[in-house]
Symmetry: C2
Subunit: 265 residues, 2 copies
């Protein structure tokens, strides 16, 4: 999916919601465990209940990988099931030397046909650029993350912290039509800071809901001229309910989040 298509989808749906598919067999409703592939059955129902409300889905690859080969099969079926107008993000945080990064790009863009993948910047340019060689595919580089340890190294460097160096350098490798940034939502002023140094890039914003950030703060501080935000909620939506009505409850939760976005779009 290209930049214009993604922006268009956001204006049409009046939503920049991304639903995080952190699907854990231990947390899904019990009645689904009788199916051959409970993880896929859960995702299918969540997708049916939310695909008109959200613009993107973000499976967290760790949750599939830890199930062994069957987890990768659940992932493949999930990606095939997601409607083509929804943007897909492999939340994999990969990062390795050029020839290995190329393998990871092949995995997520060819084998599994994702639109984008999250990338860790520590190994520098040649660990990032192989993901940017695919037409209409995206790299989403970690900049500021919302977890407790996020400040350990991202804020390192005093006046000019590491995350600014990352964004400055990465902006010289690719345009905003290929590269997004992960920007944690727990501190509004950090998002504003990021918007100054990356005025046009999309930000993938985790940390809303379970991790403490508010949608209003993110929209207010982070919006670009063409919105430029994908705000993720995982647990707050997919685990909103735990019984047979879980999909309806997921839809209600998604609606509430989109309601808070609407008047900013």
């Amino acid at each position: 999916m290209n930049y214009a298509q993604l922006v268009n989808q956001i204006y049409t749906k009046k939503s920049c919601l991304c639903v995080g598919l952190d699907t854990d067999p231990n947390k899904i409703p019990k009645h689904l465990l009788d199916y051959e592939d409970p993880v896929f059955e859960f995702n299918k129902r969540i997708i049916d209940a939310t695909s008109d409300l959200c613009v993107a889905y973000k499976p967290n690859i760790a949750f599939y990988e830890c199930l062994g080969p069957s987890g990768w099969e659940s992932l493949r079926k999930t990606i095939e099931y997601i409607p083509k107008e929804n943007f897909t993000i492999a939340d994999a945080k990969r990062g390795d030397i050029g020839n290995t990064a190329r393998m990871y790009a092949k995995t997520f863009f060819d084998t599994y046909n994702f639109d984008s993948i999250t990338i860790a910047p520590y190994m520098g340019e040649d660990s990032v650029t192989p993901f940017l060689e695919y037409k209409d595919k995206w790299g989403i580089l970690l900049a500021v993350t919302s977890n407790k340890g996020g400040s350990d190294f991202q804020q390192f460097g005093g006046d000019k912290p590491l995350f600014k160096e990352v964004v400055e350098k990465a902006n010289s490798w690719a345009t905003h039509e290929q590269l997004m940034y992960v920007v944690g939502a727990t501190r509004g002023e950090l998002i504003a800071d990021m918007r100054k140094i990356a005025p046009k890039n999309f930000f993938l914003v985790p940390g809303v809901g379970a991790q403490g950030g508010t949608v209003e703060d993110v929209m207010k501080h982070g919006k670009s001229d063409e919105i430029g935000l994908l705000i993720n909620s995982s647990r707050g939506i997919i685990y909103a309910g735990s019984d047979e009505n879980f999909a309806d409850q997921a839809r209600d939760s998604a609606k509430k989040v989109v309601e808070q976005m609407k008047h900013f779009i």
Copy 2:
């Protein structure tokens, strides 16, 4: 495998060689493609030919992941086939928030039973510590890497570059019996620098052979009181030959590398 067992293995074999299993179906000898699982058949023969010479094996996870579910099956069989006295490294470079890092630890330590996994430091403490909660399992944190882009961010920060900050902080999270560092081999003085700030930790050293570093330089600059080195060679060993004799040629190549290590151990 614990620290004492690993050190003991190095002294017994007079080797600190790690063989990188970057197995690519496009690069393995043609006659293996007739087997049901060519990747495993290749690895099996390489392991048979080298396990008495090397102390560790390091499958590069990208190469297995990109083959889809069957790649993970080849990986599982490979790990089960490696003799118990050889240390195993999942070269996966994972790094994510606590609950996700826990999933990755489960994948590589429980599902696939690796001894260790490589980790990217960008997301800080809670992305690393879940890997350190397993008895006799190891985290191997990226410090200095040997690729071209390695200096983009690892050298950021002037007098005290980022990689030193990473090592200093990480050393406060775990001892040298749980935590190793990835230290690229292309510059000897960098390894000496690293040894000063991490006197006891094992270093996993890629970049010997195809990437340009020499074994002698690494041994001279990087050795700790108890050796503390795992020197990796991937392509230089596993692709030393390309016909039916490839395993013998791999063995010859491994022998040559070990020959250079012997008088330092």
